[in-house]
Amino acid sequence: MPFPPTSKPAGRRPAMKAGAVSATAMMAPALILVGVFILIPAIVAVIGSFFDFSMTSANWTYVGGANYRRAATDPLFWLAISNNIFIVVGSVISQVGGGAILAAILDRGIRRGGVFYRTIIFMPVVISSIAVAFVWMLILDPNVGPLNAVVKALGLPTPKLGWLGDPSISLWMLLLIAAWQNVGFQMMLILAGLQAIPKEHYEAASLDGARGLKAFWYITLPGIRNVLVLATLITVIGGFKVFDLVFVTTGGGPANATQVLGTYTYTQAFSFGNMGYANAMAVVLLVTAALLGWLQVRLSRRG
């Protein structure tokens, strides 16, 4: 996503002096909505992170940086962060990587059935995460789930504690479900990027003897660079913000093993009533997301 140009364009257009007031008015709806529903709550969350209070109690006690110090020494906070990072890295590999492979195949690898495959693979994107989570819960159930039935029929061992009940497996299952749902989106995005590369570029390169991998390296990759950055950013931010999927499938369990920042913040805030602490963790998430957004802008600008 490009940044507004810092230098003024060379050719000056007619000045729009008369529109000065109306410009503000035209921006008002967006500014008011973003201000009221995003920026003010974000500021309140930052302020709240320096207080100790519960949702139900009327007194706010100023505690300085205590909530942040608490986070630093809370093993569950670090577990949640590391789970988020696991999901982020795993999702980038599986979703952006998988999406890129599928997109490349659909773009130039096969001749027939492209629209059919594309449509089906994208379909899970429009299904709500709640629905996705419930269906997968049934599939992964250790007693009556189809997956266990299939694995057993193949004569393979099934996990004794269940697909979602074994801490060493459940995070991988979350990755799998997330990939099932999101690969189609990344595929579509990258496919659009691939198809925007003019065919002549390949033809010209082919004349110069660049084919296959070489063409991919010198033409395809630079051509979809911004798309890849965008796809990665969406996946990374999505990985840090993940909530619905974990909330419904594992609830952060077994025994906190799959707790992520989103669910842990929610638990601290709404189950335990530690609003100040929840706000401090929320601010960590917010700063992380903001830094990532900034990084994306920087990366795209060079392009």
């Binding site: 003024k8 579509m188 931010i237």
Partner: protein
């Protein structure tokens, strides 16, 4: 076609086919489970139902899925409309203005993209609550709209930067004001940007769960995701009805997607530039 390239082609087909199959299986499980009885669902998980029974659909419909559906449509339509309206106007001004302050305005709006909903849940709830908007569809549509604006503004901004200015200038010379230029010339030619913005936000808002869970506590205003979540009771869970409910909730979006997918793919192409 050589043997080698034929083998490669078959291999590539196999890869996409496998993933396609993997995508379809859970959907298949959802649909066949909805036609089974609870006992059959548990004893023969993979088999086709012995008798196709619509009873589960009736039970799911009976809890008010139709109402949830209507609420979801209203909330999604309203929020997407506001998003497109507000974002396109703002992005147009931002893309055309040369005042340095606009750069900061742009940054402020885009920064909103980085604010995760969970991190502001509590203040947001208190805000909506103190405005007396709990349990109103508006309560959910306005924050949804706000959270859709940053991304959509970025989308339109990119689009307007490349929009041919000659047309606007011609209209301006004819005496059209800025607002008129925007609504008469720019917006009608912004189809692709509008389409992709609308689809993105529709998908997000249709599926949003956590705000709806907190703010819509009355069953007659609940949207689909919260309504579906409510299908699992504390002391009893009717899995066939749950699956039927999920199927009912899922089908409309899939149909819309199938109808609009051509436009969608085209408009996505604009995103990555």
């Amino acid at each position: 076609m050589t043997l080698r390239s034929r083998t490669v082609a078959i291999g590539l087909h196999a890869v996409v086919s496998l993933w396609t199959l993997f995508v379809l299986l859970p959907v298949f499980v959802m649909v066949i489970s909805a036609f089974k009885s609870q006992a059959e669902l548990f004893t023969r998980p993979l088999a086709l139902p012995k008798h196709f029974s619509f009873a589960a659909f009736e039970r799911a419909w009976g809890i008010g899925i139709s109402g949830f559906l209507v609420n979801s449509i209203l909330v999604t339509a309203l929020s997407v409309f506001i998003i497109i309206f507000a974002s396109s106007l703002a992005a147009y001004i931002l893309a055309r203005s040369e005042r340095p302050v606009m750069r900061w305005v742009y940054v402020a709006i885009v920064a909103g993209f980085a604010v995760p909903l969970q991190s502001v849940m509590v203040p947001l709830y208190q805000l909506v609550s103190s405005a007396g908007l709990l349990n109103s569809r508006l309560a959910i549509a306005l924050p949804y709209a706000a959270y859709g604006i940053p991304f959509t503004t970025m989308l339109f901004y990119t689009f307007f930067l490349e929009f041919p200015r000659e047309l606007e200038e011609a209209a301006r010379l004819d005496g059209c004001g800025r607002l008129e230029v925007f609504f008469r010339i720019v917006l009608p030619l912004s189809g692709p940007a509008i389409a992709s913005g609308a689809i993105f936000q529709a998908v997000f808002n249709w599926n949003e769960f956590i705000l709806a869970l907190l703010m819509l506590t009355k069953s007659d205003v609940r949207t689909l995701p919260v309504g579906i979540y409510g299908l699992t009771g504390q002391y009893s869970a009717d899995w066939p009805a749950l699956m039927a409910g999920l199927a009912i909730a899922t089908v409309p979006l899939i149909v819309i997607f199938l109808l609009a997918q051509r436009h969608f793919v085209r408009s996505l192409a604009g995103l990555g530039k």
